[in-house]
């Protein structure tokens, strides 16, 4: 390394060009290094975030600048049964799907934490649903949920003879709601499982040895060692999972587009339908903004609710 840096040192000493000196001036260099990232984030994230809040208080449509209308959009939403339906389904979808993802994902992580042949191959396979574009796997689910040629109906009706008629997965509101939740859980398990597996591998085996010397059962070891030790990472993964499940768009848009009879609209798909497809930018923005309180609440709840144990024990700096 010294061989390559020596000549440049000589050059720098002989004629320190003003550009070289400028770039070695620390404050300038810091500004230059941060400029691209901060610039991109400001123009395409912070500014639109503020603009979105502003739009929510105007009656902007596509092609027409709106004027400030105060809380009119929100008052309208308050009386809109579709918005209430979307709020209900968003909360329901998030709650059920998150519970399913974490129950199954934690189980899968515990299974993968055992020692068995082909472990790394299996870990790679498990992550596949998360790697593949969601819309494309959603299309596969749409086909699996087909009213006439569903493979699940075929199994239940023609192979196992449990039912006599096909299941109408996407035709009735509750069936459609649960079908979407199943697809979401399927897609979310890998992320949860692999993240939690990483957490499991950091738990020191000596804790388990000590517990076993004290005669703890497998359930007690899980309840009093694994679970508390996993709390911090659970809190982080759950915060992420809740945020991205609540604001989910792709699955619903690809499989049902909010139907049947608007029963599966999430707030994000409703915002898209009103704002982009319907052209009512102001109203769409109001729906999008109405997600923010839910997100803040869910984040605070999952983060502080679960991470409480951590700061109670005074392990803030790790």
């Amino acid at each position: 390394m010294s061989v390559t840096t020596l000549p440049s040192r000589g050059v720098a000493l002989r004629q320190p060009g003003w550009i070289a000196r400028l770039f070695d001036y620390k404050p300038f260099l810091i500004v230059m290094c941060l400029a691209p990232a901060i610039g991109l984030l400001t123009v395409f994230l912070t500014y639109p975030l503020g603009l979105g809040v502003w739009l929510a208080f105007t009656d902007t449509t596509i092609g027409r600048r709106g004027i400030f209308v105060g809380l009119e959009n929100f008052q309208y939403l308050w009386t809109d049964p579709l918005w209430w339906g979307a709020v209900f389904y968003s909360v329901f979808y998030t709650a059920v799907a998150t519970f399913g993802k974490f129950a199954l994902g934690f189980w899968l992580a515990l299974l993968l934490n055992n020692h068995f042949p082909l472990k790394s191959l299996l870990r790679a396979i498990v992550l596949l649903p998360w790697i593949v574009p969601t819309v494309l796997s959603a299309l596969a689910f749409w086909w699996i949920y087909d009213p006439q040629f569903s493979i699940i109906s075929y199994l239940l009706v023609d192979v196992l003879h449990i039912r006599s008629t096909n299941i109408d997965f996407l035709g009735t509101p509750w069936n459609a709601r649960f079908s979407l939740i199943v697809a979401n859980i399927w897609r979310g398990i890998p992320f949860v499982a692999i993240s939690l597996l990483a957490g499991l591998q950091t738990i020191s085996p000596s804790l388990y040895e000590a517990a076993m010397l004290d005669g703890a059962s497998a359930w007690q070891r899980f309840r009093y060692i694994t679970f508390p030790m996993m709390m911090p990472i659970l809190a982080i993964v759950m915060t992420f999972s809740i945020i991205f499940t609540f604001t989910d768009f792709q699955l619903v848009y690809a499989i049902t587009r909010g139907g049947p009879v608007n029963s599966t609209h999430l707030l994000a798909t409703l915002a898209f339908q009103r704002g982009i497809a319907g052209g009512e930018l102001g109203e769409g923005a109001a729906i999008a903004v109405s997600m923010i309180p839910f997100l803040v609440f869910a984040t605070l709840f999952s983060y502080f609710g679960l991470a409480r144990r951590k700061w109670q024990q005074g392990e803030a700096n790790d």
């Binding site: 840096t5 440049s8 040192r9 770039f23 070695d24 260099l29 810091i30 290094c33 941060l34 691209p36 990232a37 991109l40 984030l41 123009v43 395409f44 994230l45 975030l49 603009l51 979105g52 739009l55 899968l108 055992n114 020692h115 068995f116 790394s120 790679a124 992550l127 596949l128 593949v132 574009p133 969601t134 819309v135 494309l136 796997s137 299309l139 596969a140 086909w143 699996i144 040629f149 075929y154 399927w186 398990i189 597996l197 990483a198 591998q201 020191s204 085996p205 388990y208 497998a218 993964v237 915060t239 992420f240 604001t247 768009f249 994000a268 704002g275 999008a288 997600m291 923010i292 984040t299």
Partner: protein
């Protein structure tokens, strides 16, 4: 790895006392059986996708005479239709262009930002890091409506350039945090030596820090590529004309036509659209796992 192995042998050796079963049968029941169920369910949609894309239409819609789980006479008709009768190759090219462009843009921006935050330590650098991290928590579903108006103002509506500029909003926070973690693992002394030798800061970044952070750069790169390949809502909202659409959007909006769904072509399109990332993934599995877990742990 060794920890996990040691721990599992401990668990295994302890089981005969608590359970009456012999430990091998118990192991099969408690580990291999649920594990194979998981793998079966997680992989089934892909199997279904693949098998549908090679099935002729007669087999596809006739479960009575043909076993739906197998193909008796495989056909390439769906893939041929996709490649020659639709704009699929164009969509693939656009998606590739957008994914590569936004990956390089966000790698450039986040390398510099991570270097400044982690190595040029200045007052308030942890707060800048935290701010960038918080940007990751802003979901695209909240942003796409105002962003659409911003894109129109910039005259970029319906252009792939819009996507290249917008995707870094969720790529830069992720990459920056990943790279901060990598830069942390590089010993400070190396840079101090170079400083004593008279290297400038940019030379240090280029000749010392970056070569040592190559695994991190690869992780960030493949992750960004995958995320931008899979992105949907921005591409749906900002692109109007058929030729400029990305694969996920195009399949959903251009191939789903009328009431009779062409499942063969749809599934073939999904399969082909998933292949690049799946291929990429199979080459770099370890980087994916390390970046996923590393980002969560940070």
């Amino acid at each position: 790895m060794t920890d996990a192995a040691a721990q599992s042998t401990n668990v295994a050796s302890a089981t005969p006392d608590t359970m009456a079963w012999d430990s091998r049968a118990r192991r099969v029941m408690m580990i291999y059986l649920p594990l194979s169920c998981f793998v079966l369910i997680l992989l089934f949609p892909f199997y279904w996708m693949a098998i549908t894309s090679f099935k002729p239409n007669t087999e596809l819609l006739n479960f009575k005479e043909h076993n739906p789980f197998w193909i008796s006479s495989p056909t390439l008709a769906h893939i041929k239709h996709l490649l020659f009768n639709t704009a699929y190759p164009t969509w693939l090219k656009t998606t590739m262009f957008v994914a590569i462009g936004s990956t390089f843009l966000s790698l450039f921006a986040s390398t510099l930002a991570a270097y400044a935050i982690e190595r040029l330590r200045f007052r308030g650098s942890p707060y800048v890091g935290l701010g960038i991290y918080l940007a990751y928590l802003v979901p695209p579903s909240i942003l796409f409506i105002p962003l659409a108006t911003v894109i129109v103002q910039f005259g970029l509506f319906d252009s792939p350039m819009a996507l290249i500029l917008v995707y870094p909003t969720f790529l830069v926070p992720f990459c920056t945090w990943l790279l901060i973690g990598y830069f942390k693992s590089i010993p400070y002394e190396l840079e101090e030596c170079a400083l004593v030798d008279g290297a400038t800061r940019l030379q240090i970044l280029r000749r010392i820090t970056l070569p040592l952070a190559v695994p991190g750069l690869i992780s960030a790169g493949i992750f960004s590529f995958t995320l931008s390949w899979n992105e949907f809502i921005y591409a749906l909202a900002f692109i109007q004309s058929g030729a400029n659409k990305t694969v996920p959007v195009a399949i959903l909006t251009e191939l789903v036509t009328g009431d009779v769904y062409q499942w063969g072509a749809l599934m073939a399109g999904s399969l082909l659209g998933s292949l690049p990332v799946a291929l990429f993934y199979s080459l770099f599995v370890d980087y994916y796992v390390s970046s996923l877990t590393g980002a969560v742990k940070e």
